[in-house]
Amino acid sequence: MFGEKVCKVQLIPEHKMNIIEVSNITKNYKVSKGKSSFQGLLSSLLKNEYSVVNALKGVSFNVKEGDICGVIGLNGAGKSTLIKILTGAMYPTSGSCVVNSKVPYKEREIYVDKIGVVFGQRSQLLWDLPVKHSFVILRHIYRIEKKKFEDNLEYFTKIMGIDKFIDTPVRMLSLGQRMRAEIVSTLLHDPKLLFLDEPTIGLDLIAKSTIRRAIKQLSEEKGTTVILTSHDLDDIDVLCDQLVVLDSGKVIHDGNKSDFINKFRSNKKIVVEVDGQLDLKQLSKNPLKEASIVADNTYSIEVDEQTQKLSEMLKELVNELPIVDLSIEENSLEDIVHSLYH
């Protein structure tokens, strides 16, 4: 009885602590202008000739313990840079962050003991050896007790569905299989935080959904805080409690997912191509009056599904216009980033 009460108190979300606090982080990369790397070194020593890339321009946000936080943004927005700072691999130029009560880049060795990092584009597993082999080596590196290791191996192998190829050399795995093995390898030591930089990049729908389901389960059952970057809006839809949108090194949206869904994901676009002879102004009812022109004779119409019925819009369009082609599209990341400015 008593135990239950304690449990309930802990489950109230207001009691969740911030496990990540990022305040006003900037990161400037100096890019040497010299061509070859050796020349680059010399010229940067002699003339200080370089250009500066402002990858992060004052980024602040917090993440609550146990939440899944998605960081999205277009190419070059600064997602990987942010992850590198949060995982302790890089210093910020200014500003600071505290993760799990530590400053990552100042107490690297102690800090990384409690985190897991997956880097979508690069394998951390031993290429020529069976998957299991890498796991055993990680067991030693993280000093995982044998019992805990075996329990975790069984648990994660099951939720990621990698048992069929755990004895196969990594080089023989498909990208999706490898990524799942990759994620398992970062979880065996029970990290409090899991950082995933584009975990679903290049994967097919089935692999993506397996990974999403497993991350969700991990978060629910183990209470692991997850930070993931992605280009894929579905990742955010399915997984995240919190969403941070980065654009050119700035946070342009920080909030919970449902705000975001209501604002953007329930909206759709109808794209129609009409017969070129059409004179729009002649039409009695003009369904295209809100439309924007995408290309010659091609128009895009926003539909807010909360106030408009998609089917009625379609009926209207088909009745009124000499349509050559028609498609229904979801808002893309570009659309969302664009509209966040307005």
Partner: protein, 274 residues
Amino acid sequence: MAELIKIYLRVIAYRLYGAAQYKMDFLVGMLGLLVQQLIILILLFTIFSGIDSLGGLTLNQVLFMIGLGQLVRGLDIAYNDYIWVEAFGGFSEGSLYQYLTRPMPIYLQILMNRVNTESVGPIAIGIALLAVSIHRLNVEFNVNDFLVLAYFIFTGAVILFSLKLIVASLSLWWGRSGELMQVIHEFVEFTRYPVSIYGWILQSVLLVFIPFGLVSFIPTLYWIESVPIPLFSVPAESRKLAILAYVTSISIIYFLLGSYVWRKGLQSTANTGT
């Protein structure tokens, strides 16, 4: 520290177990190194068929020197081989990022990545040559001498380690430094013969700047009083002490230099990104 060594040994043991699955690779690699060693020895015997001493050293003394050199290099190949990969690849594809996100010193992780089993060849030949030459030298080799020999094996390993560390660290700025490492490594070839046969320029390179001469040649002189130490003049009575001091200080200087450049390099990548 003890904890780290334990982890290191466990991982190494597990890697050896993994490597055991590639017996063919191992045999081929071993054979290659053995042939290489044999060629060196045959060359040496050919040289000595015409002369009695080379740079003041007899055949047996040269065999001792080569034995010591092979043993030290064998040990270096055994535990410190993977740094070549990182120097050539310039810590490519985020391998540094991976090291940075694991709770261990970075260099130890690099060492852990490979045990080169082919090193068995040079190590065995090194020990054999040392045993044979010590036996045939007809000098009294007591416990102290063996301790000094063990010390020279250690300092030799430190010198090789430090030189590789310095050059590999440069790849943290340059992107890669494998080629430079290769060039410097070529100088090891000069230590197959007594450094005393070379001119002063090459001698100073081998005894100060790329101090491979301190791996086997200078230690050998500890036991051969008739050959003067090149570049330095030392009174006979303090000769042994001088050799110990010389070898010790060069090892320490290069080790400190190596760890300084390495730390600077890591700091630089923490600023510029990996």
